[in-house]
Subunit: 303 residues, 4 copies
Amino acid sequence: MELTKKMNVGVIGLGAMGLPMAKNLLRKGFEVTVFDARNEPIQTLEKLGAKIGHSPKEVGLQSRIVLMSLPSSKEVEKVVAAEDGLAHNMKKGGVIVDTSTIDPAVSRRLADECEKMGLHMIDAPVSGGTTGAEKGTLSIMVGGDRYTVKRCKGVLQAVGRNIYHVGDVGAGQVFKIINNMLVAINLIGVSEALVLAMRAGVDPKLLYNVVKTSSGNSWALEQKLPVMIKNNFKLGFRVWLQHKDLALAMSLASQLGASLPMASLAYQLYEATKAIGLEDLDHSAVVKVLQHLSGISSARAAE
Amino acid sequence: MELTKKMNVGVIGLGAMGLPMAKNLLRKGFEVTVFDARNEPIQTLEKLGAKIGHSPKEVGLQSRIVLMSLPSSKEVEKVVAAEDGLAHNMKKGGVIVDTSTIDPAVSRRLADECEKMGLHMIDAPVSGGTTGAEKGTLSIMVGGDRYTVKRCKGVLQAVGRNIYHVGDVGAGQVFKIINNMLVAINLIGVSEALVLAMRAGVDPKLLYNVVKTSSGNSWALEQKLPVMIKNNFKLGFRVWLQHKDLALAMSLASQLGASLPMASLAYQLYEATKAIGLEDLDHSAVVKVLQHLSGISSARAAE
Amino acid sequence: MELTKKMNVGVIGLGAMGLPMAKNLLRKGFEVTVFDARNEPIQTLEKLGAKIGHSPKEVGLQSRIVLMSLPSSKEVEKVVAAEDGLAHNMKKGGVIVDTSTIDPAVSRRLADECEKMGLHMIDAPVSGGTTGAEKGTLSIMVGGDRYTVKRCKGVLQAVGRNIYHVGDVGAGQVFKIINNMLVAINLIGVSEALVLAMRAGVDPKLLYNVVKTSSGNSWALEQKLPVMIKNNFKLGFRVWLQHKDLALAMSLASQLGASLPMASLAYQLYEATKAIGLEDLDHSAVVKVLQHLSGISSARAAE
Amino acid sequence: MELTKKMNVGVIGLGAMGLPMAKNLLRKGFEVTVFDARNEPIQTLEKLGAKIGHSPKEVGLQSRIVLMSLPSSKEVEKVVAAEDGLAHNMKKGGVIVDTSTIDPAVSRRLADECEKMGLHMIDAPVSGGTTGAEKGTLSIMVGGDRYTVKRCKGVLQAVGRNIYHVGDVGAGQVFKIINNMLVAINLIGVSEALVLAMRAGVDPKLLYNVVKTSSGNSWALEQKLPVMIKNNFKLGFRVWLQHKDLALAMSLASQLGASLPMASLAYQLYEATKAIGLEDLDHSAVVKVLQHLSGISSARAAE
């Protein structure tokens, strides 16, 4: 039976993605109970009609389904498996939908623990950025058993547009990790293209116009080459998140015995982007590392 | 004054790209004189109304404009600058349009030599593959002075759809080289994504469907992931050409003092693709090198 | 007070390194109690005068100092921290000397747990291979407080020759991991040198003789280029151990925010060496991956 | 017949290597005629008894054997093959000994041209730095036919200590290029080791002492880690020369179809070292690029 709007939906983690997702659930008529360590997003949501849960436990007690949007495996593990977490406090038959991007092995382990408690957990990492979260147009890559995923359909459709059921628990993470690994590689490719163009005296805007309609095109080029040209990296998907997702890709590759020389180089270049202090910029800021390596100063880059 | 259809157009180099370009010129009503070292394409074109030139010299003597489509700098240099080549034999005011992808420094040098003989040479490398050449929908990146490029407009529009005038002589090559460098990087990214997916037990077709609508998308993924999945690399842009274009990119980077770690890794992986005997396959065959590195045999890949 | 020969020394883990270390302790007059999951090395040592401990607990109960030589963090953690492990069963004041190469963070955590139980733990990873272990000429990189390290001096000198006290707990691991990261990079350098020499038709033995006395020399070249030339990789430090140590290096770099592009490439090439089934060969077998990438078959390599 | 001291020896190129080589020839009793574009080294040598040649031609006319020490293929080509160069002006039977490091294909081509003029040319690149040149203790890697090499024995022994006859013309270059490629890789390995050590709070001097006696050792570590620790890169083999030799290695690999991922990464990192303005420092200054990538400032590095 699908989890309908009459049932209360919990949302834990009200950051750049979790907050707009909670808003969309409210807008679509769900009863929503929310929790976050910070007060600010809670107050925002209370004004929009959300109930306040003062702990994961409280949210769990009041919800048939709980959506999580958390930064990393560590937080997910705590919210789900701690003594005062969801697994020990939700009623049997409840469902946890984890939209965080984390290690698929952790997703599988936590789902197993939930099963033992009579609960269900699916992984549903999202793609589309804060804009997608606000507009409710996220792509969602869902891993879980067919029945549970079906029960969550209404909730997922309230926050996203393209819902892909890609396999059992953990599969959503694998797809998300692979997708984000590809973005990183493509972004570094675009960075090197820009560096070569600058060194050759080519107008970067012309480069953008030409390659956009040619075989070198990619989402990374279309969306992020203009950002690199403007040299303004304030918005978007942050460097430290891109770095984290690459770490997950390398860890997955290592577990599976895959040798990925190019992804591995991408990871080291994002490590450098973090190390030189750009971790809170948009992930396209990796171009600054490549520019440094070719002796192009930021000042010159900003012209 | 634009070079009109009444003027004879020469075509030298009737390979996978040159032959369909010559056909399109005939179809659009140009008088065409052709030359190639091989008989077969010449006979094909004769039946369609082309005149035969028995040497670059003969083509040059009969043409106001000569289009070249040759494999590398060496052949272009010979056809243009040899004693019996175009520079010594075309009438003053004639134009050479080089659609080959070669070192931009060679383009510039040959254009200088042509100027001294009262001729004009522009570089106009093309993108879009054999399909684009056949349909006349190629993208063309043109480098040359404004006046000469304008004179060639009719001829360029007969073989391509998007005509970009990107700068002075050599600039067309720079754009083409950067574009093709990007394709190679993106293709290797897609290869590593496929390897990781296979190792993780993910259905590659599902990966294709999901990433195609996500931020990991690229021309390389859309056009070539299906080829990799089918494990059939017979058609398309050959490995040795991709390798040659990467060599041009690395050489350009070296001349300009650009450090390109990822492009350089891509070049080495294409070197490996050639070295293991795949040089005549489609450039997406680089996936086989990546599969080998992760212990995935071709047989398994072909399943 | 130094732990003298009259005190019983335990040895847990009797593999390629642990077995000869136990033999050396017996030879030097220590009373030795041993444990391993396999029977064979235990019987060998019993004949030489060792007592048998049937579990880590039994070894711990009978020993003032216990030497461990185990494959990875997981086994070390179990032997030290499990209910029937050393921490819960050794008498207060006892010392654990871990000669395994593991994550320094694990070393530090276990040492902390030991302190709480009134025990001391130091890390003492070794370098020098099975030959060094047999001859008692190992280099040992010791991390721990000055007093505890001093107490272990006699035991360490019984199994090694160069004893370096390099810092607090965990520092031994850091030194070992950095050293082994360097070996891997140098070995791949030697592999690429050999590949280039073979392609250039150069006699590899002559290459060896010349570079050995030139600035390109390294331990890796002196010790392992002859192995690569003979194409016989049966003995020595195994690929999977080299791979494991590189994984520790990458993990350490990641924890500390270091960007190591070359070490990271080395790791991927060792991943490939494992993936193509060479994990039990000597670590110089990485040359086979590099030879494959240049189209040199093993058969040809073996000539 | 060996070329004895009574015969005049020419030296062309009196830089950091050529000047001390000329001095050693004078010291050993050879009659020496010298040429360089700059006045200073010529005056120095005149005081020591050298004759002055005012052009390569003059040196060639007066010498049975001419030693060259020039920066790159371009200069060697000019001095040998130009109208007023050695090939057109030396007497038949004369010998050219090229101690420069250049493209082996150029060495072979020039040697062929010399043969046609009745002359002989061998390549004899040297290793050992300015110190080795001054002390006459250079290692020399000689390529040429047995008879010609034998004739040059006396001259080579006057400037070097280890004389390796490694094959036909060009082979000396191949050995030198491979050796210098190895140094670069090993230096970057040492740089990454230092970066990881600094991030881990390890004392770099202790790292040096320990690894020097372990399997991670190399000439690069022994000679250059102390330089990196002192952060003083004023003396030694310059970055731009190391970069040039890596370019030769990559070009050779490309000609021969060898895929060298690690050497290629090393080349890009030296490209970066040049690009950030360090081209005149010692080649160990590549560490500064690696330090930047891990967020370690030079100031901190200098502590």
